[in-house]
Protein backbone atom coordinates (compact mmCIF):
# COMPACT_ATOMS: atom_id res chain seq x y z
CA UNK A 1 0.00 0.00 0.00
CA UNK A 2 1.19 3.53 -0.73
CA UNK A 3 1.63 6.00 2.13
CA UNK A 4 3.05 9.45 2.76
CA UNK A 5 5.82 9.20 5.33
CA UNK A 6 6.56 12.15 7.59
CA UNK A 7 9.47 12.23 10.00
CA UNK A 8 9.87 14.35 13.12
CA UNK A 9 11.27 14.76 16.58
CA UNK A 10 9.95 12.91 19.61
CA UNK A 11 10.95 13.38 23.20
CA UNK A 12 12.34 9.84 23.45
CA UNK A 13 14.36 10.19 20.28
CA UNK A 14 15.81 13.39 21.76
CA UNK A 15 16.50 11.91 25.18
CA UNK A 16 18.54 9.09 23.67
CA UNK A 17 20.13 11.18 20.96
CA UNK A 18 23.52 11.10 22.72
CA UNK A 19 23.04 7.37 23.26
CA UNK A 20 22.58 6.33 19.66
CA UNK A 21 23.78 2.85 20.34
CA UNK A 22 21.22 2.12 23.05
CA UNK A 23 18.35 -0.27 22.49
CA UNK A 24 15.91 2.50 23.40
CA UNK A 25 17.14 4.76 20.61
CA UNK A 26 16.82 1.93 18.09
CA UNK A 27 13.31 1.08 19.34
CA UNK A 28 12.17 4.68 19.18
CA UNK A 29 13.55 5.53 15.76
CA UNK A 30 12.40 2.28 14.14
CA UNK A 31 8.76 2.84 15.12
CA UNK A 32 6.25 3.51 12.38
CA UNK A 33 3.10 5.20 13.70
CA UNK A 34 0.06 4.26 11.64
CA UNK A 35 -3.70 4.76 11.82
CA UNK A 36 -5.68 1.69 12.81
CA UNK A 37 -7.79 1.73 9.64
CA UNK A 38 -4.63 1.37 7.57
CA UNK A 39 -3.40 -1.40 9.84
CA UNK A 40 -6.61 -3.30 9.20
CA UNK A 41 -6.15 -2.86 5.46
CA UNK A 42 -2.63 -4.21 5.70
CA UNK A 43 -3.77 -7.02 8.01
CA UNK A 44 -1.32 -6.21 10.78
CA UNK A 45 -1.58 -5.54 14.50
CA UNK A 46 0.36 -3.44 16.97
CA UNK A 47 4.11 -4.21 17.31
CA UNK A 48 4.16 -6.29 14.11
CA UNK A 49 6.77 -5.52 11.51
CA UNK A 50 6.47 -3.88 8.12
CA UNK A 51 8.78 -3.42 5.20
CA UNK A 52 8.92 0.19 4.08
CA UNK A 53 10.30 1.03 0.65
CA UNK A 54 11.21 4.64 -0.17
CA UNK A 55 13.10 6.47 -2.92
CA UNK A 56 16.46 5.04 -1.86
CA UNK A 57 15.92 1.68 -0.26
CA UNK A 58 14.00 -0.60 2.04
CA UNK A 59 13.94 -0.87 5.82
CA UNK A 60 12.03 -2.96 8.37
CA UNK A 61 10.10 -0.96 10.98
CA UNK A 62 7.82 -1.86 13.89
CA UNK A 63 4.20 -0.67 13.75
CA UNK A 64 2.58 1.33 16.54
CA UNK A 65 -1.11 2.15 16.31
CA UNK A 66 -1.74 5.89 16.54
CA UNK A 67 -4.79 8.09 16.29
CA UNK A 68 -2.61 11.13 15.78
CA UNK A 69 -1.80 10.40 12.15
CA UNK A 70 -4.40 10.51 9.43
CA UNK A 71 -5.12 7.41 7.36
CA UNK A 72 -2.73 7.33 4.41
CA UNK A 73 0.07 8.96 6.41
CA UNK A 74 2.69 7.35 8.63
CA UNK A 75 5.01 9.04 11.12
CA UNK A 76 8.56 7.86 11.83
CA UNK A 77 10.84 9.65 14.36
CA UNK A 78 14.02 11.21 12.92
CA UNK A 79 16.93 8.83 12.81
CA UNK A 80 18.89 6.22 10.92
CA UNK A 81 15.88 4.05 10.04
CA UNK A 82 13.88 6.70 8.21
CA UNK A 83 17.04 8.03 6.57
CA UNK A 84 17.85 4.58 5.27
CA UNK A 85 15.26 5.05 2.54
CA UNK A 86 15.37 8.82 1.96
CA UNK A 87 17.05 10.28 -1.14
CA UNK A 88 19.69 13.02 -1.25
CA UNK A 89 18.10 15.37 -3.77
CA UNK A 90 17.54 18.87 -2.36
CA UNK A 91 15.88 20.78 -5.24
CA UNK A 92 18.73 23.30 -4.99
CA UNK A 93 17.92 24.26 -1.41
CA UNK A 94 20.41 22.16 0.57
CA UNK A 95 17.48 20.47 2.32
CA UNK A 96 16.41 16.97 1.26
CA UNK A 97 12.76 15.86 1.42
CA UNK A 98 12.50 14.65 5.02
CA UNK A 99 8.73 15.04 5.14
CA UNK A 100 5.92 13.91 2.84
CA UNK A 101 7.86 11.10 1.22
CA UNK A 102 5.94 8.54 -0.84
CA UNK A 103 6.60 5.05 0.47
CA UNK A 104 5.28 1.55 -0.15
CA UNK A 105 4.46 -0.45 2.98
CA UNK A 106 3.76 -4.16 3.35
CA UNK A 107 3.71 -6.66 6.20
CA UNK A 108 6.87 -8.68 6.69
CA UNK A 109 8.29 -11.41 8.89
CA UNK A 110 11.85 -10.16 8.51
CA UNK A 111 13.69 -8.97 11.60
CA UNK A 112 14.28 -5.31 12.31
CA UNK A 113 17.98 -4.51 12.16
CA UNK A 114 20.08 -2.76 14.80
CA UNK A 115 21.53 0.72 14.19
CA UNK A 116 25.01 -0.68 13.53
CA UNK A 117 23.65 -3.38 11.23
CA UNK A 118 22.15 -0.59 9.13
CA UNK A 119 25.45 1.26 9.17
CA UNK A 120 27.31 -1.89 8.12
CA UNK A 121 24.90 -2.31 5.26
CA UNK A 122 26.03 1.13 4.06
CA UNK A 123 29.73 0.31 4.39
CA UNK A 124 30.46 1.24 8.02
CA UNK A 125 32.19 -0.76 10.75
CA UNK A 126 30.47 -1.23 14.12
CA UNK A 127 32.16 0.17 17.20
CA UNK A 128 30.88 -2.08 19.95
CA UNK A 129 33.15 -1.78 22.90
Amino acid sequence: MKFLMITGRTVNQGAYVERKLSAQYADETSTCFMHQFDMMDLGITDRERVQVTGPCGTVVLVIAASEDVNPGTVFVPYGPYANHIIGGHTHSTGMPDFKSIEVEIEATTEQRKGVYELMEELGGVAYDR
Binding site: L4, R9, A15, E18, T73, N83, G94, D97, K99, Y116
Partner: protein
Protein backbone atom coordinates in the same frame (compact mmCIF):
# COMPACT_ATOMS: atom_id res chain seq x y z
CA UNK B 1 27.86 20.89 45.69
CA UNK B 2 24.91 22.53 43.95
CA UNK B 3 25.71 24.79 41.00
CA UNK B 4 22.94 27.31 40.28
CA UNK B 5 21.99 29.20 37.10
CA UNK B 6 23.54 26.63 34.82
CA UNK B 7 22.68 26.89 31.11
CA UNK B 8 21.32 23.73 29.53
CA UNK B 9 23.26 22.80 26.39
CA UNK B 10 20.62 20.81 24.56
CA UNK B 11 18.04 22.80 22.62
CA UNK B 12 17.77 26.34 21.32
CA UNK B 13 15.87 27.48 24.43
CA UNK B 14 19.17 27.51 26.37
CA UNK B 15 17.30 27.50 29.70
CA UNK B 16 19.56 29.35 32.14
CA UNK B 17 17.92 28.41 35.43
CA UNK B 18 19.11 24.83 35.74
CA UNK B 19 20.55 23.57 39.03
CA UNK B 20 23.11 20.84 38.89
CA UNK B 21 24.33 18.76 41.85
CA UNK B 22 27.96 17.76 41.48
CA UNK B 23 29.80 15.12 43.51
CA UNK B 24 33.43 14.16 42.84
CA UNK B 25 33.36 15.79 39.43
CA UNK B 26 30.25 13.89 38.40
CA UNK B 27 26.79 15.29 37.81
CA UNK B 28 24.50 13.35 40.13
CA UNK B 29 21.26 15.33 40.00
CA UNK B 30 19.64 17.98 37.80
CA UNK B 31 16.79 20.31 38.74
CA UNK B 32 14.58 22.51 36.56
CA UNK B 33 15.72 21.00 33.24
CA UNK B 34 13.33 18.94 31.09
CA UNK B 35 13.82 15.26 30.22
CA UNK B 36 16.03 16.16 27.27
CA UNK B 37 18.28 18.47 29.25
CA UNK B 38 18.45 16.13 32.24
CA UNK B 39 19.46 13.14 30.15
CA UNK B 40 22.20 15.19 28.54
CA UNK B 41 23.59 16.34 31.91
CA UNK B 42 23.48 12.80 33.28
CA UNK B 43 24.85 11.28 30.09
CA UNK B 44 27.47 8.60 30.48
CA UNK B 45 29.06 6.27 27.95
CA UNK B 46 31.65 8.75 26.79
CA UNK B 47 34.30 7.46 24.46
CA UNK B 48 37.33 7.00 26.80
CA UNK B 49 40.02 8.11 24.34
CA UNK B 50 40.74 8.55 20.62
CA UNK B 51 40.19 5.49 18.44
CA UNK B 52 41.35 4.53 14.99
CA UNK B 53 39.78 2.06 12.61
CA UNK B 54 41.96 -1.00 12.10
CA UNK B 55 40.57 -3.21 9.35
CA UNK B 56 37.27 -4.39 10.75
CA UNK B 57 38.09 -3.47 14.32
CA UNK B 58 39.25 -0.52 16.39
CA UNK B 59 42.39 0.35 18.26
CA UNK B 60 43.17 3.01 20.85
CA UNK B 61 45.55 5.77 19.85
CA UNK B 62 46.90 8.88 21.57
CA UNK B 63 45.53 12.40 21.15
CA UNK B 64 48.76 13.37 19.37
CA UNK B 65 48.38 10.57 16.82
CA UNK B 66 44.70 11.34 16.31
CA UNK B 67 45.32 15.04 15.73
CA UNK B 68 48.18 14.25 13.34
CA UNK B 69 45.87 11.95 11.36
CA UNK B 70 43.18 14.63 11.13
CA UNK B 71 45.66 17.27 10.01
CA UNK B 72 47.19 15.02 7.33
CA UNK B 73 43.74 14.10 6.10
CA UNK B 74 42.77 17.75 5.62
CA UNK B 75 46.10 18.64 4.01
CA UNK B 76 45.91 15.73 1.57
CA UNK B 77 42.32 16.37 0.54
CA UNK B 78 41.41 18.35 -2.53
CA UNK B 79 37.88 19.12 -1.47
CA UNK B 80 37.40 18.52 2.25
CA UNK B 81 34.02 19.00 3.92
CA UNK B 82 33.96 20.36 7.48
CA UNK B 83 30.53 19.64 8.85
CA UNK B 84 28.55 19.82 12.11
CA UNK B 85 29.31 22.70 14.50
CA UNK B 86 25.88 23.29 16.04
CA UNK B 87 26.49 21.51 19.33
CA UNK B 88 29.69 23.21 20.22
CA UNK B 89 30.68 26.65 21.47
CA UNK B 90 31.25 29.71 19.30
CA UNK B 91 34.98 29.80 20.02
CA UNK B 92 35.40 26.36 18.40
CA UNK B 93 33.20 27.37 15.45
CA UNK B 94 35.51 30.33 14.91
CA UNK B 95 38.59 28.10 14.62
CA UNK B 96 36.62 25.86 12.25
CA UNK B 97 35.97 28.72 9.81
CA UNK B 98 39.64 29.77 9.84
CA UNK B 99 40.64 26.17 9.19
CA UNK B 100 38.17 25.76 6.31
CA UNK B 101 39.59 28.84 4.65
CA UNK B 102 43.14 27.61 5.02
CA UNK B 103 42.44 24.16 3.52
CA UNK B 104 40.06 25.63 0.93
CA UNK B 105 37.27 23.36 2.07
CA UNK B 106 33.51 23.54 2.31
CA UNK B 107 32.22 24.36 5.78
CA UNK B 108 28.58 23.71 6.59
CA UNK B 109 26.59 23.37 9.79
CA UNK B 110 23.41 21.49 10.66
CA UNK B 111 21.36 24.52 9.63
CA UNK B 112 21.26 23.19 6.10
CA UNK B 113 19.14 20.25 7.29
CA UNK B 114 16.98 22.13 9.82
CA UNK B 115 16.32 25.82 9.24
CA UNK B 116 18.43 26.44 6.14
CA UNK B 117 15.25 27.12 4.17
CA UNK B 118 14.14 29.60 6.87
CA UNK B 119 17.35 31.55 6.42
CA UNK B 120 16.88 31.56 2.64
CA UNK B 121 13.42 33.01 3.16
CA UNK B 122 14.72 35.59 5.63
CA UNK B 123 17.35 36.62 3.08
CA UNK B 124 14.52 37.25 0.64
CA UNK B 125 11.97 39.08 2.79
CA UNK B 126 13.53 39.83 6.18
CA UNK B 127 12.81 38.66 9.69
CA UNK B 128 10.25 40.48 11.82
CA UNK B 129 11.38 38.78 15.04
CA UNK B 130 11.84 39.58 18.70
CA UNK B 131 13.40 38.05 21.80
CA UNK B 132 11.68 35.39 23.87
CA UNK B 133 11.26 37.85 26.75
CA UNK B 134 9.04 40.09 24.64
CA UNK B 135 6.82 37.14 23.75
CA UNK B 136 6.60 36.02 27.37
CA UNK B 137 5.56 39.43 28.63
CA UNK B 138 3.37 40.69 25.79
CA UNK B 139 2.06 38.01 23.46
CA UNK B 140 -1.61 37.14 23.84
CA UNK B 141 -1.65 34.90 20.78
CA UNK B 142 0.87 32.18 20.02
CA UNK B 143 0.93 30.12 16.84
CA UNK B 144 3.05 26.98 16.68
CA UNK B 145 3.17 25.95 13.04
CA UNK B 146 4.83 22.70 12.02
CA UNK B 147 6.63 22.41 15.33
CA UNK B 148 6.08 20.33 18.41
CA UNK B 149 7.68 22.05 21.39
CA UNK B 150 6.43 19.50 23.95
CA UNK B 151 8.72 16.97 22.31
CA UNK B 152 11.48 19.15 20.88
CA UNK B 153 11.69 22.27 23.11
CA UNK B 154 9.78 21.16 26.20
CA UNK B 155 10.27 24.30 28.31
CA UNK B 156 9.42 26.79 25.58
CA UNK B 157 5.82 26.49 26.76
CA UNK B 158 6.52 26.90 30.47
CA UNK B 159 9.13 29.64 30.20
CA UNK B 160 7.70 31.77 27.43
CA UNK B 161 4.20 30.90 26.27
CA UNK B 162 1.38 28.62 27.47
CA UNK B 163 2.36 28.27 31.13
CA UNK B 164 4.46 31.42 31.60
CA UNK B 165 3.40 34.57 33.47
CA UNK B 166 3.46 37.76 31.44
CA UNK B 167 4.17 41.26 32.76
CA UNK B 168 1.49 42.84 30.59
CA UNK B 169 -1.03 40.01 30.90
CA UNK B 170 -3.23 39.83 33.95
CA UNK B 171 -3.91 36.13 33.86
CA UNK B 172 -1.49 34.81 31.32
CA UNK B 173 -2.91 31.31 31.09
CA UNK B 174 -6.42 32.60 30.42
CA UNK B 175 -5.48 35.62 28.34
CA UNK B 176 -3.12 33.83 26.00
CA UNK B 177 -4.49 31.88 23.08
CA UNK B 178 -2.39 29.07 21.64
CA UNK B 179 -3.02 27.80 18.11
CA UNK B 180 -1.22 24.72 16.78
CA UNK B 181 -1.02 23.95 13.08
CA UNK B 182 0.36 20.58 12.07
CA UNK B 183 -0.16 17.57 9.85
CA UNK B 184 -0.59 15.29 12.84
CA UNK B 185 -2.15 15.73 16.24
CA UNK B 186 0.98 16.18 18.30
CA UNK B 187 1.29 16.41 22.08
CA UNK B 188 1.44 20.17 21.68
CA UNK B 189 -1.83 20.12 19.74
CA UNK B 190 -3.46 18.59 22.82
CA UNK B 191 -2.74 21.64 24.98
CA UNK B 192 -3.73 24.18 22.31
CA UNK B 193 -6.89 26.26 22.33
CA UNK B 194 -7.30 25.49 18.67
CA UNK B 195 -5.74 22.81 16.52
CA UNK B 196 -5.60 23.13 12.74
CA UNK B 197 -4.80 19.90 10.93
CA UNK B 198 -3.57 20.28 7.40
CA UNK B 199 -2.82 17.67 4.79
CA UNK B 200 0.91 16.91 4.38
CA UNK B 201 2.40 19.38 1.92
CA UNK B 202 -0.53 21.79 2.29
CA UNK B 203 1.23 24.53 4.30
CA UNK B 204 1.80 26.86 1.38
CA UNK B 205 -1.83 26.81 0.33
CA UNK B 206 -3.12 27.37 3.88
CA UNK B 207 -0.71 30.27 4.44
CA UNK B 208 -1.79 31.81 1.14
CA UNK B 209 -5.44 31.45 2.10
CA UNK B 210 -4.82 33.20 5.43
CA UNK B 211 -3.00 36.01 3.67
CA UNK B 212 -5.93 36.46 1.32
CA UNK B 213 -8.39 36.57 4.21
CA UNK B 214 -6.31 39.09 6.17
CA UNK B 215 -6.31 41.22 3.02
CA UNK B 216 -10.10 41.07 2.93
CA UNK B 217 -10.35 38.72 -0.06
CA UNK B 218 -12.63 36.31 1.76
CA UNK B 219 -14.78 35.46 -1.28
CA UNK B 220 -11.93 33.75 -3.07
CA UNK B 221 -11.51 31.08 -0.38
CA UNK B 222 -12.93 27.66 -1.32
CA UNK B 223 -14.86 25.47 1.15
CA UNK B 224 -11.69 23.86 2.35
CA UNK B 225 -7.99 24.43 1.78
CA UNK B 226 -5.64 21.43 2.15
CA UNK B 227 -8.09 19.83 4.54
CA UNK B 228 -8.79 22.96 6.61
CA UNK B 229 -12.43 24.15 6.52
CA UNK B 230 -13.07 27.71 5.38
CA UNK B 231 -14.79 28.63 8.68
CA UNK B 232 -11.73 27.64 10.63
CA UNK B 233 -9.48 29.72 8.38
CA UNK B 234 -11.75 32.74 8.84
CA UNK B 235 -11.75 32.25 12.61
CA UNK B 236 -7.94 31.95 12.78
CA UNK B 237 -7.48 35.06 10.68
CA UNK B 238 -9.90 36.95 12.93
CA UNK B 239 -8.15 35.79 16.08
CA UNK B 240 -4.81 36.93 14.64
CA UNK B 241 -6.14 40.36 13.72
CA UNK B 242 -7.82 40.83 17.08
CA UNK B 243 -4.72 39.88 19.08
CA UNK B 244 -2.77 42.68 20.75
CA UNK B 245 0.53 40.95 20.15
CA UNK B 246 0.96 37.76 18.17
CA UNK B 247 3.98 35.47 18.01
CA UNK B 248 4.32 32.92 15.23
CA UNK B 249 6.77 30.07 15.82
CA UNK B 250 7.51 27.60 13.09
CA UNK B 251 9.51 24.42 12.87
CA UNK B 252 10.73 21.83 10.48
CA UNK B 253 7.18 20.91 9.56
CA UNK B 254 7.38 23.68 6.98
CA UNK B 255 11.11 23.77 6.20
CA UNK B 256 11.44 20.10 5.36
CA UNK B 257 8.30 19.65 3.36
CA UNK B 258 7.58 20.47 -0.25
CA UNK B 259 7.99 24.17 -0.94
CA UNK B 260 10.70 24.48 1.73
CA UNK B 261 11.83 28.13 1.87
CA UNK B 262 8.80 29.28 -0.09
CA UNK B 263 6.63 28.05 2.79
CA UNK B 264 8.65 30.11 5.25
CA UNK B 265 8.57 33.11 2.97
CA UNK B 266 4.81 32.84 2.81
CA UNK B 267 4.61 32.66 6.61
CA UNK B 268 6.79 35.77 6.97
CA UNK B 269 4.63 37.60 4.46
CA UNK B 270 1.51 36.59 6.39
CA UNK B 271 3.06 38.13 9.50
CA UNK B 272 3.96 41.19 7.44
CA UNK B 273 0.32 41.46 6.40
CA UNK B 274 -0.88 41.05 10.01
CA UNK B 275 1.34 43.92 11.09
CA UNK B 276 -0.99 46.25 9.20
CA UNK B 277 -3.59 45.37 11.82
CA UNK B 278 -1.68 44.61 15.01
CA UNK B 279 1.78 43.67 16.29
CA UNK B 280 2.98 40.29 15.10
CA UNK B 281 6.38 38.58 15.10
CA UNK B 282 7.72 35.35 13.65
CA UNK B 283 10.70 33.20 14.62
CA UNK B 284 12.12 29.76 13.95
CA UNK B 285 12.27 27.12 16.67
CA UNK B 286 15.98 26.41 16.42
CA UNK B 287 16.93 22.89 17.45
CA UNK B 288 20.55 22.36 18.49
CA UNK B 289 21.52 24.61 21.38
CA UNK B 290 24.07 26.60 19.38
CA UNK B 291 22.93 26.27 15.79
CA UNK B 292 22.04 29.94 15.88
CA UNK B 293 25.60 30.61 17.01
CA UNK B 294 27.03 28.74 14.06
CA UNK B 295 25.05 31.06 11.76
CA UNK B 296 26.27 34.12 13.67
CA UNK B 297 29.91 33.05 13.71
CA UNK B 298 29.89 32.06 10.04
CA UNK B 299 28.15 35.28 9.05
CA UNK B 300 30.44 37.65 10.85
CA UNK B 301 33.50 35.80 9.56
CA UNK B 302 32.48 35.08 5.95
CA UNK B 303 29.29 37.00 5.25
CA UNK B 304 27.22 33.82 4.97
CA UNK B 305 25.40 31.75 7.60
CA UNK B 306 26.07 28.18 6.36
CA UNK B 307 27.20 26.19 3.30
CA UNK B 308 30.39 28.18 2.59
CA UNK B 309 32.83 26.99 -0.05
CA UNK B 310 36.42 28.26 0.10
CA UNK B 311 37.63 26.36 -3.00
CA UNK B 312 38.20 29.65 -4.84
CA UNK B 313 40.13 31.12 -1.92
CA UNK B 314 37.20 33.41 -1.10
CA UNK B 315 33.90 32.66 0.60
CA UNK B 316 31.29 31.42 -1.89
CA UNK B 317 27.73 30.56 -0.88
CA UNK B 318 25.18 28.73 -2.94
CA UNK B 319 22.80 26.50 -0.94
CA UNK B 320 21.91 23.46 -3.00
CA UNK B 321 25.47 23.35 -4.26
CA UNK B 322 27.73 24.21 -1.32
CA UNK B 323 25.63 22.50 1.36
CA UNK B 324 26.70 19.25 3.02
CA UNK B 325 23.92 17.04 1.68
CA UNK B 326 24.64 18.09 -1.91
CA UNK B 327 28.42 17.86 -1.60
CA UNK B 328 28.05 14.32 -0.24
CA UNK B 329 25.24 13.16 -2.51
CA UNK B 330 27.24 14.32 -5.54
CA UNK B 331 30.20 12.32 -4.14
CA UNK B 332 32.29 15.43 -4.43
CA UNK B 333 34.24 15.71 -1.17
CA UNK B 334 37.27 13.49 -0.67
CA UNK B 335 37.58 13.84 3.11
CA UNK B 336 35.25 14.86 5.91
CA UNK B 337 35.86 16.39 9.33
CA UNK B 338 32.78 16.12 11.52
CA UNK B 339 32.47 18.19 14.68
CA UNK B 340 29.64 17.75 17.21
CA UNK B 341 27.09 16.17 14.92
CA UNK B 342 25.96 12.74 13.75
CA UNK B 343 25.33 12.82 10.00
CA UNK B 344 25.20 9.03 9.64
CA UNK B 345 22.03 9.05 11.74
CA UNK B 346 20.52 12.18 10.23
CA UNK B 347 21.54 12.30 6.57
CA UNK B 348 19.78 10.51 3.73
CA UNK B 349 21.22 7.23 2.59
CA UNK B 350 23.24 8.36 -0.49
CA UNK B 351 25.20 10.83 1.67
CA UNK B 352 26.04 8.18 4.25
CA UNK B 353 27.13 5.79 1.50
CA UNK B 354 29.66 8.36 0.34
CA UNK B 355 30.98 8.82 3.89
CA UNK B 356 31.86 5.12 3.80
CA UNK B 357 34.16 5.72 0.85
CA UNK B 358 36.25 8.66 2.07
CA UNK B 359 38.47 9.29 5.10
CA UNK B 360 36.43 10.66 8.00
CA UNK B 361 37.51 12.14 11.33
CA UNK B 362 34.93 12.88 13.96
CA UNK B 363 35.38 15.09 17.01
CA UNK B 364 32.61 14.08 19.40
CA UNK B 365 32.32 12.98 23.05
CA UNK B 366 30.20 9.92 22.26
CA UNK B 367 30.33 6.94 19.96
CA UNK B 368 27.39 7.35 17.59
CA UNK B 369 26.19 6.14 14.22
CA UNK B 370 28.86 8.20 12.43
CA UNK B 371 31.56 6.39 14.41
CA UNK B 372 30.97 3.44 12.07
CA UNK B 373 32.29 5.55 9.17
CA UNK B 374 35.22 7.16 11.00
CA UNK B 375 38.85 6.45 10.42
CA UNK B 376 39.56 8.32 13.63
CA UNK B 377 37.32 9.65 16.39
CA UNK B 378 38.57 12.13 18.96
CA UNK B 379 36.52 12.45 22.16
CA UNK B 380 36.20 15.91 23.70
CA UNK B 381 34.56 17.61 26.66
CA UNK B 382 30.84 18.40 26.42
CA UNK B 383 30.28 22.15 26.28
CA UNK B 384 28.07 23.12 29.20
CA UNK B 385 29.21 20.20 31.33
CA UNK B 386 33.00 19.99 31.26
CA UNK B 387 33.82 22.88 28.92
CA UNK B 388 32.72 26.53 28.87
CA UNK B 389 31.99 28.78 25.90
CA UNK B 390 29.51 31.04 24.14
CA UNK B 391 26.21 29.93 22.64
CA UNK B 392 23.34 31.81 20.98
CA UNK B 393 19.77 31.19 22.07
CA UNK B 394 17.12 30.66 19.37
CA UNK B 395 16.22 34.36 19.54
CA UNK B 396 19.82 35.45 18.92
CA UNK B 397 20.75 36.25 22.52
CA UNK B 398 24.32 35.10 23.29
CA UNK B 399 24.81 33.37 26.64
CA UNK B 400 27.90 32.18 28.43
CA UNK B 401 27.73 28.42 28.84
CA UNK B 402 29.32 27.27 32.08
CA UNK B 403 31.56 24.41 32.96
CA UNK B 404 30.30 22.47 35.97
CA UNK B 405 32.79 19.62 36.28
CA UNK B 406 36.41 18.86 35.48
CA UNK B 407 36.78 15.75 33.34
CA UNK B 408 40.23 15.94 31.85
CA UNK B 409 38.89 15.83 28.29
CA UNK B 410 40.13 18.63 26.00
CA UNK B 411 37.49 21.00 24.59
CA UNK B 412 36.56 21.21 20.91
CA UNK B 413 38.36 24.53 20.76
CA UNK B 414 41.59 23.06 22.14
CA UNK B 415 41.66 20.18 19.65
CA UNK B 416 40.74 22.40 16.70
CA UNK B 417 43.28 25.07 17.67
CA UNK B 418 46.04 22.47 17.80
CA UNK B 419 45.00 21.20 14.37
CA UNK B 420 44.84 24.72 13.01
CA UNK B 421 48.31 25.59 14.28
CA UNK B 422 49.76 22.49 12.64
CA UNK B 423 48.03 23.21 9.32
CA UNK B 424 49.26 26.81 9.45
CA UNK B 425 52.79 25.60 9.98
CA UNK B 426 52.69 23.34 6.91
CA UNK B 427 50.94 25.91 4.74
CA UNK B 428 53.40 28.67 5.61
CA UNK B 429 56.41 26.58 4.62
Amino acid sequence: MIVKDVVCPFCGCLCDDVEVTVEDDRVVAVDNACTLGTSKFLGDHRLPGPIRRDGNGWKDISYDEAIRYAVDMLLDAERPLLYGWSSTHGEAQCVGVHMAELVRGVIDNTTSVCHGPSILAIQEVGHPGCTLGVVKNRADLIIYWGCNPIDAHPRHLSRYTRYADGFFLENAFRDRTVIVVDVRKTETANIADEFVQIRPGGDYAVLSALRAIVRGKTDTIPRSVSGVPREQLLRIARRCKEAKFGAFYFGQGITMTRGKYKNVRNAIELVDELNRHTKFTISAMRGHYNVYGSNEVNTWMTGYPFGIDFARGIAFYNPGETTAIDVLARRECDACLIVASDPAAHFPRPCVEHLAEIPVVQIDPYANATTAFCNVQIPVAVTGIDAAGTAYRMDGVPLRIRKVIESGYPSDEEILSRMYAMIQEVRSE
